[in-house]
């Protein structure tokens, strides 16, 4: 069930109302989560229920030591590996030359990682385990974050879920905050990402022969994927807030970052934190080399982690290369900051965003060959300034539009300042609730010319 659907709006409204006045709140959340995921189809549901059951069996049947971690890795990485990377390992490509399996169960990458984090944290003693299968199920299936994150740790949501089971649930007072996040997410998804999608699709489809068009496609895709995924995260966090549960922030205006490290600290934050804690730190801290070479080990760990990050995003060598390039850029930036003076912030920002936009071509392309051809066009600077033909928008309008996208990003940054929260507190009341609910409903009803599922649904 997509967040930008009327069905979701109804489900959320009924669940929020039930949470406010009804009995058996935990049961209601479980039922709502099952209804939410049922829209994905029986196959996906079966895989999900199987994954939850297996992970619960791991908890009850295997002692809380290294063996449980091994079992959790085998089950969860095995699930992702089978469904997501089977084609890549077997060398079987789809009709578009991509390894991506079209029957990938919805959200498998997210709920598998979440289960993995759960078991590791329990074994390491960072959190108490779920006391019952129902608690564990709701921790995994809580519908606002089920399909595409944020990837939560047990210490972030499990205590909140346990309070619901203990009948100690309390609604957050600042409903306007949750509604505002939902509206912000819908604006990003429905108004911006879905509007950019057909333009990006067309540009990548025609294989542009001018650098102008190729750069335009890459820049617009960068914003499309940002608006799409951060919009999804905003709706998830806002919906959860309305249900009385706080989810962690997932994006913090990454395109204002002045370095690649900063960008990754602000882009898909919960995944970055997951990779840092469960992959990078173990790799970097492993006693493999002498102290003299620890820096080298550290850098290798960065590249390996980011390469894995790329692979997590998609089964394809283009994703692997994309991730590896992010890692190499981080190493480069680390070396620069170690041996050279820091560049002025605007230069750092421009270099970071140019690098990110350019490498996202690997992310958007169906395969490596396509990506290299596209990059060749981008970096050739051939074609010059385009003439206006066939009702097309004049180039100055297009450039103004791109500048406008960066301006929107800056406005979003301003909206995240603490002062805005004070404004919301003052505005809290029936009028603002009615206004935000109305805007959210109308945004959902805005006509779509193409069906654009959330991009991260396929990961």
């Amino acid at each position: 069930m997509a967040f930008n659907s009327l069905a979701y709006a109804l489900l959320l409204t009924v669940t929020v109302a039930w949470m406010a006045i009804g009995p058996s709140r935990a049961l209601m959340l479980i039922v709502a989560s099952l209804i939410f995921y049922a829209a994905a189809g029986p196959f996906d549901m079966l895989v999900f229920l199987g994954a939850v059951t297996l992970n619960w069996l791991i908890q009850v049947a295997i002692p809380a030591d290294r063996r449980r971690i091994v079992a959790a890795v085998v089950v969860n990485i095995g699930l992702i590996g089978y469904f997501k990377y089977r084609n890549m390992l077997l060398g079987e490509t789809g009709p578009t030359g991509s390894y991506i399996d079209l029957a990938l169960p919805l959200g498998i990458s997210f709920y598998s990682f979440q289960a993995l984090a759960y078991h590791i944290d329990i074994v390491r003693g960072r959190n108490r385990p779920a006391r019952s299968f129902r608690e564990f199920f709701l921790f995994k299936a809580f519908f606002p974050q089920l399909i595409a994150g944020p990837i939560v740790r047990p210490n972030q949501t499990l205590p909140q879920i346990q309070r619901i089971f203990d009948d100690k649930w309390r609604r957050h007072r600042l409903l306007v905050f949750g509604l505002s996040l939902v509206v912000l997410g819908l604006v990003k998804k429905v108004v911006l990402a879905d509007s950019l999608a057909p333009v990006v699709d067309d540009i990548f489809y025609v294989r542009p022969d001018s650098a102008y068009l190729a750069w335009l496609g890459a820049v617009l895709f960068t914003f499309q994927i940002y608006f799409d995924f951060s919009g999804y995260s905003d709706i998830a966090i806002g919906s959860a807030y309305l249900l009385g549960i706080r989810l962690p922030q997932n994006f913090a205006t990454p395109f204002l970052a002045a370095s690649i490290q900063q960008l990754w600290q602000r882009w898909h934050i919960t995944l970055t934190m997951f990779l840092r804690d469960y992959l990078f730190l173990p790799l970097a801290d492993m006693r493999l080399v002498t102290r003299r070479y620890r820096v080298m080990q550290h850098f290798c760990a960065i590249v390996l982690t980011m390469t894995f990050c790329g692979l997590w995003h998609g089964a394809g060598w283009n994703f692997v290369l994309w991730g590896a390039l992010q890692g190499v850029a981080m190493v480069f930036a680390a070396l620069w900051s170690r041996y050279l003076p820091s560049p002025p912030a605007p230069v750092g920002w421009a270099a970071t965003i140019t690098f990110f936009v350019t490498t996202l071509v690997f992310f958007r392309s169906p395969n490596l060959g396509y990506a290299f051809n596209y990059l060749d066009t981008m970096l050739s600077f051939r074609g010059g300034w385009p003439a206006v033909v066939d009702d097309a928008a004049p180039p100055w309008e297009v450039v103004a539009g791109v500048v406008g996208l960066f301006a929107l990003h800056w406005i979003e940054f301003r909206l995240q300042q603490p002062g805005v929260l004070l404004v919301m507190r003052r505005a809290e009341g029936p009028v603002s609730r009615g206004f935000l609910s109305g805007v959210a409903l109308l945004l959902i009803l805005i006509p779509v010319t193409n069906v654009n599922p959330f991009i991260y649904f396929r990961f």
Binding site: M1, A2, N4, S5, L6, A7, L10, I21, A40, G41, D44, G94, P95, T96, I100, L102, L106, I147, V191, D194, S195, L196, A197, P198, V199, V200, D201, F204, Y205, R364, P366, V389, D390, D391, A393, E397, A400, G401, P430, V431, S432, R433, G434, F435, L436, S437, G438, V439, L441, L442, L445, I446, P447, T449, V451, N452, P453, I455, F457, R458
Partner: protein
């Protein structure tokens, strides 16, 4: 659990509803703002409804109707004061001007491109640049029934004192049964005595019955002037599962991998089979006059069209498009020739000149294999309405047809134009 007094709760509800009304106004304003700025090219807009219920016609264009067309491709659409997808025209024909009316469906109406990019406008510009004093007036209106073209001609065309009419219909439109279906617009229905007569069954529709009363006029006024109301109305007409957004995200993602194109059909292998299958019902209709009722309606339509144009002293060229063009070595080639012979016989016997439009377009664009590239936009190229290349090619085709039919002695110019279809 303690409850607030009733008055407090009512007050909260009232303020909540007030907030909702504010949301309606803000979103409506936002949608209007997008339409009047360059943002219309990319941000969400609500497609206009360019017409309204009509007692005689079923659904008729509203003079001055305008908006942003969004289906397939975005374009500003503006109907003129006569309700035509055309520039402003005087009803009285300027002295010495040859007036040609273009009849057709949505393919000719061409809401997917700007008015100046339609093939009618391109052809007029090019012919006028070549020194011909003529006007090509676009009379087309969307809708699959050919009978709409006849009514359109009688209501909008004849008052313009046309000298020539070029109609354009898809071959499939005679097979669709729309000529016999009066649920949306006039059609031929069989009476008790077995004869065909024009039926107006659509007048029983709720929208028709209330079109002229206060509520009906208010409703039409709202959907024509408020993008928000139009959006809500259009969404309310969708099936419940679509309205709820229940086609799952999973199935949507299965349709395309991040917007990548679907695999190209193996056109060459299936072209012959497809052409053979598509030609069969056409041959049944035009040569064998089967099914009987469908043929009776088709014949009646041709009779009425011929009679109408004859009465008004207007010459009629009828272009039939989408008659499949099989590959050269396909047995269906001879079947196609038989079909054209039969069709030509039926049209000629009524004094109407038939034009094999797809074949004429194919000549302009170096063969039938090139025709798909004239249709659709971007990722959907290959199917749908005409794109910009398509309008240029159709304009060249139309100029060629007009020169051959009406302005003899310009064959060399035809050839020159044919080699430059994108001119």
């Amino acid at each position: 659990m303690s409850f607030s007094p009733l008055s407090t709760r009512l007050s909260r509800l009232g303020r909540f509803l007030f907030g909702g009304i504010l949301a309606l106004l803000v979103v409506d304003f936002g949608l209007r703002l997008i339409e009047v700025t360059p943002l219309w090219r990319i941000l969400p807009v609500v497609q206009p409804i360019l017409g309204q219920p009509d007692k005689d016609f079923g659904f008729e264009s509203t003079p001055g109707g305008r908006g942003i067309w969004t289906t397939e491709h975005r374009a500003r659409v503006q109907l003129n004061s006569l309700g035509l997808r055309d520039v402003e025209r005087e009803l009285a024909k300027p002295a010495g001007t040859f007036r040609i009316g273009l009849l057709g469906d949505s393919m000719v109406e061409a809401a997917q491109v700007g008015q100046q990019a339609t093939f009618a406008a391109i052809a007029e510009r090019r012919l006028r640049a070549d020194g011909y004093n003529l006007e090509l007036i676009n009379l087309a209106i969307a809708g699959p029934s050919p009978i709409r073209q006849l009514w359109r001609l009688e209501r909008r065309g004849y008052p313009l004192n046309l000298d020539l009419v070029v109609a354009n219909s898809a071959a499939s439109s005679f097979l669709s049964g729309k000529l016999l279906d009066d649920s949306e617009n006039p059609a031929y229905v069989r009476m008790g005595n077995g004869e065909l007569a024009v039926g107006y069954g659509f007048r029983e529709r709720f929208s028709q019955r209330h079109a002229d009363d206060l509520i009906g006029r208010l409703f039409i006024g709202l959907y024509q002037n408020s993008p928000l109301f139009r959006m809500l109305y259009l969404r309310s007409t969708e099936p419940l599962s679509v309205l709820l957004g229940l086609p799952s995200a999973q199935s949507a993602s299965q349709r395309s991998v991040m917007g990548l194109p679907p695999p190209a059909p193996e056109a060459a292998r299936f072209a012959c089979d497809q052409a053979t299958a598509a030609l069969e019902p056409m041959i049944h209709l035009w040569r064998d006059h089967r099914p009987e009722l469908l043929w009776a309606a088709t014949a009646r339509f041709l009779d009425d069209m011929a009679q109408s144009t004859r009465t008004h002293g207007v010459r009629l060229l009828y272009a039939i498009r989408d008659i499949p063009l099989p590959p050269p070595d396909c047995p269906a080639t001879s079947a196609r020739a038989d079909l054209l012979l039969a069709m030509d016989r039926e049209f000629a016997s009524r004094g109407i000149r038939l034009i094999d439009w797809s074949a004429a377009v194919a000549e302009v664009v170096d063969g039938p294999a090139e025709i798909p590239r004239l249709h659709g936009f971007g990722i959907h190229k290959g199917a749908g309405h005409l794109n910009y290349d398509g309008h240029r090619a159709w304009a060249t085709t139309l100029i060629g047809v007009l020169r051959r039919e009406l302005l003899p002695g310009t064959a060399s110019q035809d050839s020159a134009a044919a080699t430059h279809p994108d001119r």
